[in-house]
């Protein structure tokens, strides 16, 4: 039995179950996607899946459109979320805690339930479903992910920076543009990561809020896989992963502290 207790004694051994989990549920699927993407239906090596994506205007268009929607959603989230976070971080502590929870509260409800409720709301108000509804749904669902990291960075910001700026002659406007805005950038970057990445790949919101009229890239992947086109679906997934990976790198460059915003 001694060997068993030895295994448990070493702290580093405790992580073994997690490694196994990661191996099975993260690494293995990624490897499979990679392999499938470079194979045809018979299992032979091919690049046809990628050339099909480039030559097929429909898929490529959907891809560009998805990125467009993601960018619009992210920009709207910044425009709405930044002032919200700024106001929240400035008001008195107890009151702002309650308001922060109010902003976060929708996240406690499942995203599909919320989106179905949005559909019902649009129906009730006789508003047409479509592109506008899609953007609304996206912003509504992802806004908390933008507010929270920005709020967090602003909360942690040392108040003496603001006082130092005032002391050196900065008007409230200048304090904001010269100090608060640059210092809250890491939070904005985290927010962008947390909004932009998932919006590229969602398909449920698009399906429900546009009555399946507008296809996003996530929908295309889902359709291909549902229709048994595993290899093509894998190739599309790989393309999306590469894009997300690229944005990730870009934001890391921007500021290492970006991740501090995420709790």
């Amino acid at each position: 039995m001694k060997w068993l207790s030895n295994i448990f004694m070493k702290r580093s051994n405790w992580s073994i179950p997690y490694f196994i989990f990661l191996l099975i549920f993260v690494v293995l699927p990624l490897v499979l996607i990679f392999l499938y993407a470079f194979q045809d239906a018979d299992g032979n090596f091919t690049l046809k899946n990628f050339s099909k994506f480039i030559s097929n205007p429909e898929a490529a268009n959907t891809f560009v459109y998805s990125i467009g929607v993601a960018i619009v959603t992210t920009v709207l989230c910044i425009l709405l979320g930044y002032p919200a976070a700024y106001i929240l971080s400035n008001s008195e502590l107890c009151r702002s805690k309650v308001t922060v929870v109010l902003f976060i509260l929708p996240m406690w409800i499942n995203i599909l339930v919320r989106t179905l409720a949005t559909v019902a709301l649009f129906d009730f108000m006789r508003l047409p479903l479509g592109e506008g509804a899609l953007i609304f749904g996206m912003v509504y669902n992802f806004l908390p992910f933008m507010i929270y990291p920005i709020y967090n960075t602003m909360q942690k910001m040392d108040h003496s920076y603001i006082e130092a700026a005032q002391d050196l002659g900065a008007s409230p406007m200048k304090v904001f543009t010269k100090v608060v805005a640059p210092l809250s950038m890491p939070g904005v970057m985290s927010g962008v990561m947390m909004v932009f990445m998932p919006t590229i790949s969602t398909f449920a919101i698009a399906e429900l809020l546009t009555m399946n009229n507008i296809k996003l890239f996530g929908t295309t992947i889902q359709e291909n896989i549902n229709n048994g086109m595993w290899n093509y679906g894998a190739a599309l997934s790989l393309i999306m992963l590469v894009i997300i990976f690229a944005t990730n790198l870009f934001s890391d460059d921007e500021d290492q502290a970006a991740n501090e915003g995420i709790i």
């Binding site: 006082e163 130092a164 700026a165 005032q166 002391d167 050196l168 002659g169 900065a170 200048k174």
Partner: protein, 460 residues
Amino acid sequence: MSDSNFIIELSNISKSFGDKTVLDDVSLYVKKGEFVTILGPSGCGKTTLLRILAGFGSADEGEIKIGGVDITEVPPHERPINTVFQRYALFPHLNVYDNIAFGLKLKKVKDDEIEARVRRALKMVGMTDYEWRDVNSLSGGQQQRVAIARAIINRPQVLLLDEPLAALDLKMRKDMQMELKEMHKTLGITFVYVTHDQEEALTLSDTIVVMSEGKVQQIGTPIDIYNEPVNSFVADFIGESNILNGTMIQDKLVRFMGRDFECVDAGFGENAPVDVVIRPEDVYIMSYTDSGMFEGVVQSCIFKGVHYEMLVNTPDGYEVMIQDYNAFEVGQKVSMIIKPSDIHVMKKERTTNTFEGKMVDATHVEIMGAEFVCAEQQGFEGGEQVMVEVDFDKIDLMDNKEDGTMMGDVRFILYKGDHYHLTIRTEGGDNLYVDTHDVWDDRDIVGIKIQPEDIRIKRA
């Protein structure tokens, strides 16, 4: 009206946070070019005062003038004042150059002038060639220098320094003190410096303002403050001292440690209770002879570098701290002499605790928000307002706070040679003064108990 002479005029400033009074009617007048230090223990209100001067907090009452202009309502960015912050507050997203140029860029000064002035400021603080460094890569001392450069480059009328050296190590602090003094001379700007370090205050200042409990205790030159402290708090806070209870028998004759001493003070009246302050270096110590004024036995002797610090016990049970170049062995019998001019006599601020109270019934009185049992009283009605007196040595302090009638915490400890004089802050914010032989620590929470027969009740 003593106008134009003063650059800073703070008149009757009061400030409370909730029901806690932080500044209580503080007035301070500073001459142009002076180096003024506001000195006091933490929580005495010195930083609050500085923040009000800088504009980061507003006073509930009072008026602030800079150079004769009322700036009470002026926001901080329009005040002709710059601050060096305690934790530097350098902008982490800007490099050294941009940090220092921050103020000038806001004023839209021309680029080449900014560059020349930044270089001059950097040279002044000894940081030439550091322009393009990231501020986060600098050491604490270097950050402090940049913070000073960032403030002085704007040529303010007044420079505020909020414990700027507190985070530096001793050696660095000493060097920076000298540099600050030098800078003050060169620039000719009025410096207002906040610190809790009495040595720093004595070294740097033209004028020291000693604060405690939101009030100015004494304003004077370092020499005045050291040699002629106005009360036992100042005497205890500045330098080492023996503070003893005494009685002024008559003019120029004071009684303490069980015998009469000649002194030079007068005008206290006959048999007036006083505090006596004797600096440890002012007691002359020698091997036992008949010609000494009083005698004692050396209790401890510690080498302090330049001098030895000895504690001597007198036959009457008093402990005297003495600093001398000669060491005397522990257990040795010694004689001591104190020159009349070295005995500083101060009027006692109070000789007993007095409270406003309210009779509850014949055997209960309410003081400081708690109900105490008192000896049966005749001729008072329930609810009647009364004055209550309790002597310092008649208050019992308990370790176990539940055992007391009420609770308080120890705010100030004064050793009086044979006992401790404590200031206790009660839950309701009242001060209670207690003489005790027990040793308590600062901020200890204690239970407070008073025996019924020790509560004296008088008609209000």
